[in-house]
Symmetry: C2
Subunit: 339 residues, 2 copies
């Protein structure tokens, strides 16, 4: 087993000082050509690579970015991570991923752990429980320590920091608008409980579009599904309970799942009933019929988040100018709506 070689080893072997080795490897002008060549050759031969930890300690910079997301088995979040990875790696940063599992406590623990020197900054989406509790002290503490933070998708006004979101309101608005233009009169919304910032925004867009198209806002046409999973009975009752000829869902699982239930009831899609989901992901693409969806541009979002973060990390100023980047939601039309 060949252990990793250090400056000290090289110095001892070549009978020079550690400082000389360090400078030689950085091609410092201070060191003579002969000595540099000798040292560089030796280092190359023994495949010397500086120890990241030591450099981090010295520089007080780790070149690591901490990412905390509610769930990793979720298409949208993985596309965001891909974007973060892509941009960060190009800038020489590594990504430490932590999963809060929608739990407030895990979010806090993970943040505190990483905040003690492991990372240069955070990118995160709030857990469900955090949004429900509306407690953001862990975020505030981190920003007060001067650690840059970028929030994406699931954000809050309570914390002053950079943010990246899509225009959820507008996305929902476009979707409902399209359904209305197709002549749909009974447009339903299947959503989560309303403590999610994104769900509230989407519901607002939904209502606005109805009004702007002269359709009445009927609260019976809104179904709230608790804790992110589809209660089949509730959806069945919902579909039976009234005339519905179009459904907007706040995520693709809700959409694909309820579309399937509708099919099972004998509805023809899109003729009898149209469906639109959020998160233009893999499910939307491969569903049958394939699902029209509001694209959330996760990868783009990740890239922008990473860019904003690294900018702050590498800035020498401490001025507090925070911005919120709003990406345009776009509609990806497929078979589940009439085009």
């Amino acid at each position: 087993m060949k252990r990793k070689i250090t400056l000290k080893h090289i110095a001892r072997e070549l009978e020079v000082s550690i400082s000389t080795v360090s400078k030689a490897l950085k091609n410092s002008e201070e060191i003579s050509r002969d000595t540099k060549e000798k040292i560089q050759a030796f280092a190359k031969l023994y495949n010397y690579k500086p120890n990241n930890i030591a450099i981090s300690l010295k520089n007080k910079r780790t070149k690591n970015i901490g990412v905390i997301i509610p769930d990793i088995v979720h298409y949208f979040f993985t596309t965001v991570i891909r974007g973060i990875e892509k941009y960060s790696n190009a800038k020489g940063y590594n990504v430490i991923v932590c999963v809060s599992d929608e739990s407030f406590d895990k979010e806090v623990i993970n943040m505190e752990l990483l905040a003690n020197g492991s990372i240069d900054g955070f990118i995160m989406a709030l857990s469900a429980e955090t949004q429900l509790k509306n407690d953001y002290n862990h975020l505030k503490e981190v920003t007060e320590q001067g650690i840059p933070l970028v929030l994406f998708d699931r954000v809050t006004d309570e914390v002053q920091c950079d943010k990246v979101i899509i225009n959820d309101r507008e996305g929902a608005y476009f979707a409902v608008n399209k359904l209305a233009k197709n002549g749909r009169k009974h447009i339903a919304l299947i959503t989560t409980e309303n403590y999610f910032s994104v769900s509230r925004a989407r519901a607002a867009g939904y209502r606005q579009a109805l009004r702007d198209n002269g359709l009445e806002v009927n609260e019976n046409l809104v179904l709230e599904l608790p804790n992110m999973n589809v209660d089949e009975e509730a959806v069945n009752d919902f579909l039976d309970g009234q005339k519905i000829d179009a459904v907007l869902c706040v995520n693709e699982i809700f959409a694909v799942h309820s579309m399937k239930l509708a099919k099972r009831k004998g509805f023809k899609i899109p003729e009898d009933i149209s469906f639109i989901g959020f998160t233009d992901g893999i499910l939307s693409k491969y569903a049958s019929p394939s699902l029209t969806a509001v694209a959330q541009h996760g990868q783009k979002m990740g890239e922008i988040a990473a860019q904003m973060l690294i900018e702050k990390v590498e800035a020498d100023t401490d001025e507090e100018n925070f911005r919120t980047e709003i990406l345009e939601a776009t509609l990806m039309e497929r078979e589940s709506t009439i085009n």
Copy 2:
């Protein structure tokens, strides 16, 4: 902005030495009750937390695990990460995720970067290109340096290390066996190019099951789709080219996609043609008809990989006893086959 406090700050403030502070915070017997209480109270008040980087440098242990996967936007890999995260966090480890993007070079770069002190061990699945090139020197270098390595799913015999895989051969065998027992005579296989270890194993299981059921192995019934994406024309031609009444696919995208093409051609599923995929993921569950699939137990795999790795990381011995854990593949039956 309140900067993070260090031992030195506490020491200066309380007019004791750094060593005393360090010991007091560890509740050392060496320090008097009075002094300890004073120091601990002060530390608590100012929310002192030791700097991870400094501890890592001292201990030569980072409590970080490096995970390198080919792609993060892929259900199976995310479930593995979830498993790794779960086990690792419980043991106090963080997970650094790097994506090789199926590229040999990126895999090498990521490994080298992390190997310089950033992590205590690696968990990885080989990139497509690495398997194609059959070049594993970067892995060997890492293990020679004494850094523990666990390979999962996409493994190789060329490297001596711990491994976790599922019984791909048997999974395919079970699947084809079931199709044969259902009376299918013309069972096709849609697979990737054969440099993937998993694809080879699955193809072997497929052939064995055919033979054991008295069916002839017909190479015309095997379709190789290059570079992981579905060429619709190729699949259409394949389905038209001969009588096929069942298809085994080596992943769920192939399965769901070709099932959709078959449906479009007017095939009734599962009556006219049955489908079975690998990777019992979200697509399989929500497809219509829902897809019978060979479950790969990604989360379990991740947990085991993490367990094996941490065991090696925390072992003080350097003895080289490597094992390969083989998980049983199980068949998840759904609507795309007759049960």
